[in-house]
């Protein structure tokens, strides 16, 4: 065991022992000595600029800054003396000299570190307050014209915490110091508006500001900190699962969000959606009463009536057509408990395995592919492990927009440790722009690219023979297939230079520690499962899996994609991926639930539409899903939904799908719920209600339980914690997970017992949860996309998400600042294509495919390659999914959102 060398330091006359390398500030904190600070933010801003933390060090010529000076053996420190007090007080007065004393109207009042220090040093008025005129006419600043962040240079004390937060947390360096000396001011480069910089509006700067100089604009005037009620919870947007504190005012409105510094995975960071996106819960559009459709119109109903009506209709249809005529949708945006309840409702009450969730549309291929190759379909390594990676291989992941906080850690690892960043993406994303190696491959050519890389790795002898031998099977078959992928062929298929492919292959394979990150650029293809298998192959043949800094991390799109699948909101598995066709598993659940269960796997959601049109599916029960926006070819989906005899929906807003419903139940939103979300790194985290739900709304698991009970199967959970207890009792990987354990932070599954600390890294040491204990290397051949450009539809359309919006827009479009910043959809076109099509930036054009057409604004961008355009799917006014191709992956049944043939016309 390593013993840390201790050194002796005298603080205020008493000897202490500390490990080497510690700052004086940390040493003092650890030994109970209080030192005031202003510019210091641990791990973020450590520059020693304010002069508040100065201490005396024996023999030093000047006073030493505790925050940045390291202790040495035999150092003698005095933490306070009249001289030190005088120096600190003078520096504080200097900082206060130019600070307006308008605390009464300042949003930071009560949350202001300058105010607190002035109180502590009892400074009523700075001795140096000689320049009043300087702030009687406020200095103009021209860079905060955006809707998100306000900067008041008068209040700024130039501590640089915002600059450091932008540099070290957000990793964009959008703001910095301009001018010199007393003219110094926080500014953007050349004072351009913030939106003209790389700023992502994560507002890390705002959170870092110790005073009221930087404020979120929507927060202004919404209440002082001491009048707000705070709740620690988890962000309800993407799968990163950032821990945040939400602040509620006395009217029950959420007004502010702060990242929690000492919490995994985000360590205090948030993105623009986390920071501002909670606002939708305050919306007056919220559904507050159950609604029943009569004569094509909704009317308010009581809960009893709506529940009874739904139970009766479902029972009638079940009796008439059989249980499999009913489909049930769980949701990746609902909690684990909600999803457990809904799949139990489908299986035990309705009696069908027709249950699915929107993970079908994003990571079904991950479940199929990684499940097959590794035996577990989840990210292998935690976010916190990024700092151990030497080569980060990112493919098909626009993570700066889709998982912004993970992108920050990736960029941090590149910047601080010099880790290599390899990005493969048909779009030149923001991350691609900072990559060491960037490969812009043709959409849908991922298998060719990966096989090409692996041929290089095989040919150059960079395969990890020991690992393959000890921990895998299937290498021989694989090697035969890969040998066909010579670089000339691959270069032709992918449209990438041979040298670049070779460089990427060598960089990944020869790195000491390499990790793969991928998102929907890999999964949303008719060959999605093949893509995922190829990725697994790459990691397996190089042995880059099963230890720190090595793994495969599919980044989950929505807050609970992982959890909804873990909970069995899937047609073929019970909670914990226990197969419905496995008699032992079925028997276990039958015994627990006291009913007999169907052994027939159900339909995936992507086949619900066809089933409805063919008359096999007669009713659908949707918990918070919106297929009319999120499924491909929604004209076809609409026809299917219209053909149903009965549609029940649990929703927070009247979504596009809800409009077609026969009954709508108002439910609680994420920030009003108690329950758990399982994030992209398998971390089960506790949601706590940050505000009261609308009075007549109910929790999703509660609504499902009421319908079930009414249908004669009592589901009477006391609370969400009780649901999780049942999950634990039936799901080995969740067996040790209970709400009471999550109070102090999340747990990563597998967590098999109540005293298990959770599992940081899957497949540790190369042990895989497959019968053989070995991972499977599969031969995968390249197959092209189902619909490629032709003379009629000459352009390739790819779809996806953007930073400022989320899912079908139900939430983010109701956040004023987000909708103000990106109010409408657009098509991203390369400069070359725009010239050929004679269209201009900002011009509205018609984009059509064989399935439909929409009108959108043109944005000329350097992101897409020639011949490829991009449209996001968040906007109902111009829904990209009117255009997308419903071609499915044969295994995972995931649609090909990423490739369709389109044409663009002037209007």
């Amino acid at each position: 065991m390593m013993t840390e060398k201790l050194i002796t330091t005298k603080i205020d006359g008493k000897d202490y022992q500390f490990p080497t390398g510690m700052t004086i500030l940390d040493a003092c904190k650890n030994s109970g000595h209080d030192i005031p600070t202003l510019c210091y933010l641990e791990g973020i801003a450590e520059e020693g600029s304010c002069g508040m933390c100065v201490v005396e060090v024996k023999k030093a010529r000047t006073l030493q800054r505790a925050c940045i000076t390291r202790i040495t053996d035999g150092m003698e420190i005095t933490t306070d003396s009249p001289g030190i007090h005088e120096a600190r007080k003078t520096n504080l007065e200097l900082a206060l000299a130019h600070h307006p004393l308008d605390c009464m109207t300042c949003d930071a009042d009560g949350d202001c570190e300058l105010e607190e220090l002035a109180y502590r040093f009892s400074i009523k008025k700075s001795e140096f307050l000689v320049d009043r005129e300087a702030f009687e006419s406020p200095k103009e600043t021209s860079w905060d014209t955006n809707p998100f962040i306000q900067f008041d240079p008068q209040k700024c004390v130039l501590c640089r915490r915002c600059v450091d937060a932008c540099e070290n947390q957000a990793l964009v360096e959008a703001i910095g110091m301009a001018m010199r000396g007393s003219e110094s001011v926080v500014s953007t480069p050349f004072n351009v508006p913030l939106e003209g910089t790389d700023c992502q509006f994560c507002a890390a700067c705002v959170q870092a500001c110790p005073v009221g100089a930087l404020v979120e604009k929507p927060r202004i005037g919404r209440g002082k900190i001491f009048n707000l009620e705070k709740t620690e919870t988890v962000c309800g947007y993407c799968g990163v699962g950032c821990n945040m504190t939400l602040y509620k005012d006395k009217k029950n409105d959420l007004v502010m969000a702060r990242g929690i510094i000492d919490a995994m995975p985000n360590k205090g960071r948030l993105c623009v959606k986390g920071r501002y996106g909670f606002e939708y819960v305050n919306s007056t559009d919220r559904l507050t009463k159950p609604l029943i459709k009569e004569n094509g119109k909704f009317r308010e109903a009581t809960w009893d009536e709506a529940i009874a009506y739904t139970a009766t209709r479902l029972q009638e249809i079940k009796d008439k057509y059989g249980a499999d005529a009913i489909g049930v949708l769980g949701s990746s945006r609902c909690t684990d408990e909600d999803n457990f309840a809904v799949q139990k409702f489908a299986r035990a009450v309705i009696g069908t395995n027709n249950v699915d969730n929107c993970a079908r549309l994003c990571h079904a291929s991950t479940i199929a592919g990684l499940g097959k190759a590794l035996g577990a379909a989840a990210a292998t390594n935690p976010v916190d492990d990024i700092k151990n990676v030497d080569a980060m291989f990112v493919i098909g992941s626009n993570m700066t927009e889709t998982h912004p906080v993970i992108a920050q850690f990736v960029k941090e690892n590149k910047k601080k440790r010099g880790a290599k960043l390899i990005v493969c993406d048909p779009r030149r994303t923001d991350l691609a722009k900072v990559a060491d190696i960037y490969i812009q491959h043709f959409p849908g050519s991922d298998v060719a690219l990966l096989n090409g890389m692996m041929k290089v790795i095989v040919d150059k002898g960079l395969v990890n023979k020991e690992f393959i031998e000890a921990h895998t099977e299937g290498y021989e078959e694989f090697a035969k297939v890969v040998s066909k992928y010579d670089l000339d062929t691959v270069s032709r298929l992918t449209r990438v230079e041979k040298a670049l492919i070779e460089e990427a292959a060598v960089a990944y394979a020869s790195a000491l520690n390499a990790t793969i990150f991928y998102t929907m650029g890999i999964t949303q293809h008719s060959v999605g499962t093949d893509n995922v298998l190829s990725i697994a192959n790459l990691a397996l043949v190089t042995g880059h899996i099963g230890r720190e800094g090595n793994g495969i991390n599919p980044l989950r799109g929505q807050a609970n994609v992982q959890g909804a699948c873990d909970m069995g909101a899937l047609p073929d598995v019970y909670p914990g991926y226990q197969k419905v066709v496995d008699p032992a598993a079925r028997e276990k659940f039958e015994k627990a639930w006291g009913v007999s269960l169907s052994d027939k796997p159900g339909l995936p959601v992507t086949e619900f539409g066809d089933a409805a049109l063919s008359g096999h599916l007669k009713a659908m029960y949707s918990m918070g899903e919106n297929p009319l926006m999120t499924e491909p070819d929604i004209t076809h989906v609409r026809k299917g939904l219209e053909a149903l005899e009965f549609l029940a929906v649990q929703e927070i807003f009247l979504s596009e799908t809800a409009e077609l419903a026969d009954v709508i139940f108002p439910s609680a939103a994420a920030y009003e719920k108690e329950g758990t979300l399982t994030n992209t790194e398998r971390r089960v985290q506790l949601l706590r209600p940050a505000r009261e739900k609308p009075e007549d709304a109910k929790f999703d698991w509660e609504i499902v339980s009421l319908v079930a009970t009414k249908m004669g199967y009592p589901m009477t959970y006391r609370n969400a914690a009780a649901v999780m207890d049942e999950v634990a009792s039936l799901t080995p990987s969740y067996a040790g997970i209970h709400h009471w354990r999550l109070e102090k932070g999340g747990l990563q599954w597998p967590c098999p017992t109540d005293d298990h600390a959770g599992t940081r890294i899957l497949h540790y040491g190369g042990t895989f949860k497959r019968p053989s204990g070995k991972a499977l290397i599969s031969p995968v051949d390249y197959i092209e996309a189902k619909e490629l450009p032709d003379s009629e539809y000459p352009i390739l359309l790819t779809t996806g998400r953007i930073l400022y919006h989320y899912h079908s827009g139900q939430e983010s479009r109701r956040v004023k600042v987000l909708d103000a910043f990106v109010p409408r959809n657009y098509v991203e076109v390369s400069k070359e294509d725009a010239e050929e099509l004679h269209i201009e930036h900002g011009e509205t054009v018609r984009v059509s495919t064989r399935r439909g057409s929409i009108e959108v604004e043109t944005r000329i961008s350097d992101k897409p390659m020639k011949g490829v355009v991009f449209i996001s799917f968040h906007f109902r006014e111009a829904s990209a999914n009117l255009l997308t191709n419903a071609a499915l992956d044969p295994v995972a049944k995931i649609p090909e959102f990423k490739v369709a043939a389109c044409k663009i016309e002037k209007i």
Binding site: E47, G48, S49, C50, G51, V54, T62, L63, R65, I68, T69, R70, E86, A87, T90, N91, L94, A95, A97, H98, F128, V130, D131, V157, L158, R160, G176, M177, M179, R180, G181, S182, E183, S184
Partner: protein, 594 residues
């Protein structure tokens, strides 16, 4: 066949006073007389005696012509070169005597100097690598490449060379630390960001003898194991950049720089980085950030650059003048270097003499020379018979040396003891007409402007001190202001992050120490004893002397002087803007200034 060489000083000051036109005239006259093939014209670096420029020296005689102009340059050709007669009117003579000096060896300004750093400045053509080599150039490098690295470092250590940038840190220790530091690659950086007002020795070396720095940097790179060097020069020095860049290209051509230097297998190259003129970038940590392309802001030491410098790698950073000392040490040995100077500060130091002194310019003297020798013997004393009041050393970071210390041998340690610093060698001489409050305010204004703005005590503190100084000079000082300046100054010294802030209060504190009565006169009597602080002056007209010539009234820009012709005039004191024009134009001494 060349029979004579004309050395023309092409230092910055001589160029400003017309060196280029003088050269054109000489070229033209040579051609006119048909002797252009017999006479070689060489433009050299700075010869040091800046107030004598443009300077032309004729070799082999060494005849020293000063203040040559377009009008009289022709005489050097027609008289000296054609007829063999010295042009007496262009020779230098001491103000006190009529004896003309034929050569620089007869001029006291030169005779008392010991030229080591400036050994080639004013002697060789800075664009000629051959001339540099002819003066033992690159011999130090050749010798170094045959020595062991530790041996080189030991020699530098033994020489006792201390950093000429101001702090006087032992150079050998820096070299040793950089060599022993773990980390790769390592870098050698030359600090040419000469920022002290009035100091220009680094510029002169870069302009006049660029190869001396190139050579030393290659030696340093070899000694510490670096392959890359950076020279950081401020953008205000375009000629230095141009000549240094030329020197780099030449050195590469000849093989003193680049791949496999002199066949030793050692690779080293140098790049120029141009600074944008921030004073703080002379601070080494800020300079390194600036080279990295970041905002030039200092950071805490330790870690020292030798451990974690440029891009976090071990970096040796020395000043230009320090580097210029290196090659001669290698050639002549440590003992030779120690043969001049003091025990703890061996060698020479270049000073930039300026202010109220007869001979301004660059002078190189052994460490330990007294201020009296510098100012009176070399500098020729104070003009117009005025009284010496003090000398400011170390620029805005330094302080005042008063007449009491005229005989103090100047070195790094002795000046520290009397509350100032050596600095980079700027020496501003002040006479009885200088207001010490005003002088301190001038330096403080400089640091207020040049503070990088990072730490509160420096950014805000210097500004607050400046406000107090301003109100003192405006006659609005408070009785408590001296105490306030002292206490605030002390906090700034104790809590500023880098040397700039820690020394910024020095000019004020030093002048308070020696001239507190002048401060008191400003504060208590609202009077500037030297009549410098305008706001404290009152202009009036002595009726006994005024003849009513109307000259003052006609000059007054605000027309507050009234009076009829040939009758006594008067000034409306309330409206007077104290510009002093009336005082200057009155031929009868009738304007009183109090």
């Amino acid at each position: 066949m060349i029979r004579n060489q004309l050395l023309i000083c092409a230092g910055g000051a001589c160029i400003t006073s017309g060196e280029k036109s003088v050269k054109d005239v000489l070229v033209e006259e040579l051609a006119k007389n048909g002797i252009q093939d017999e006479i070689q014209i060489i433009e050299t670096g700075c010869m040091g005696a800046c107030d004598l420029g443009p300077i032309v020296v004729v070799y082999p005689e060494g005849t020293f012509y000063q203040k040559v102009s377009v009008q009289n340059a022709g005489l050097i050709v027609s008289e000296h070169l054609v007829k063999g007669r010295t042009v007496a009117e262009l020779l230098y003579h001491e103000p006190a005597s009529a004896k003309k000096a034929q050569t620089s060896e007869e001029i006291p300004f030169y005779t008392r100097q010991v030229k080591r750093v400036l050994r080639n400045c004013g002697v060789i053509d800075p664009l000629s690598i051959e001339e540099f080599i002819a003066r033992d150039g690159y011999f130090g490098l050749g010798k170094a490449l045959e020595m062991g690295r530790d041996e080189i470092i030991k020699m530098v250590q033994d020489s006792g060379l201390r950093g000429r940038g101001g702090a006087g840190f032992p150079t050998g220790i820096k070299w040793k630390a950089a060599k022993e530091a773990t980390g790769s690659p390592k870098y050698v950086v030359c600090n040419g960001d000469e920022g002290d007002p009035g100091a220009f020795m680094d510029r002169s070396v870069l302009e006049g003898d660029p190869h001396s720095v190139v050579e030393a940097m290659v030696i340093a790179g070899y000694a510490i194991g670096a392959a890359t060097g950076y020279v950081y020069v401020r953008a205000e020095y375009p000629l230095a950049i141009e000549r240094f860049d030329y020197a780099l290209r030449k050195a590469r051509e000849v093989g003193f720089l680049g791949h496999d230097i002199l066949g030793s297998g050692f690779d080293f190259d140098i790049e120029i980085r141009i600074g944008a003129g921030a004073f703080v970038c002379g601070e080494e940590t800020a300079l390194l950030r600036s080279i990295e392309g970041k905002r030039g802001m200092p950071s805490l030491k330790p870690p020292f650059p030798a451990e974690a410098g440029l891009w976090g790698k071990p970096t040796l950073i020395n000043n230009v003048e320090t580097f210029a000392n290196v090659a001669p040490i290698l050639i002549n040995g440590a003992e030779w270097f120690r043969s001049v100077g003091t025990l703890k500060s061996p060698g020479t130091k270049v000073f930039a003499l300026a202010g109220k002194v007869q001979n301004t310019g660059l002078v190189e003297v052994p460490m330990g020379t007294t201020l009296r020798e510098l100012i009176f013997d070399i500098g020729g004393g104070i003009p117009d018979g005025k009284k010496f009041k003090g000398a400011q050393t170390g620029g805005p970071s330094g302080g005042i040396i008063t007449a009491d210390y005229l005989d103090l041998p100047i070195d790094f340690d002795s000046v520290k003891e009397i509350g100032t610093i050596m600095g980079s060698g700027g020496l501003i001489v002040l006479d009885e007409d200088n207001c010490m409050v005003d002088v301190a305010k001038f330096y403080l204004e400089f640091t207020v402007d040049e503070s990088c703005g990072k730490c509160t005590p420096c950014r805000e503190g210097t500004r607050q001190m400046y406000r107090i100084m301003e109100r003192i000079c405006n006659g609005k000082g408070h009785d408590s202001d001296i105490e306030k300046l002292k206490s605030l100054g002390k906090v700034i010294q104790l809590t500023s992050l880098c040397g700039l802030g820690q020394t910024a209060p020095n000019p004020v504190l030093s002048t308070i120490r020696f001239f507190e009565d002048e401060y008191r006169a400003h504060i208590e009597d609202k009077r500037c004893p030297t009549h410098v602080c305008k706001r404290l002056l009152t202009y009036s007209i002595n009726p006994d002397k005024c003849v009513g010539c109307t000259a003052c009234a006609r000059q007054c820009p605000v027309q507050v002087i009234t009076g009829e012709v040939k009758k006594t005039h008067s000034i409306d004191v309330d409206k007077c803007i104290k510009c002093g024009l009336c005082y200057e134009v009155c031929r009868f001494g009738a304007i009183c200034r109090e």
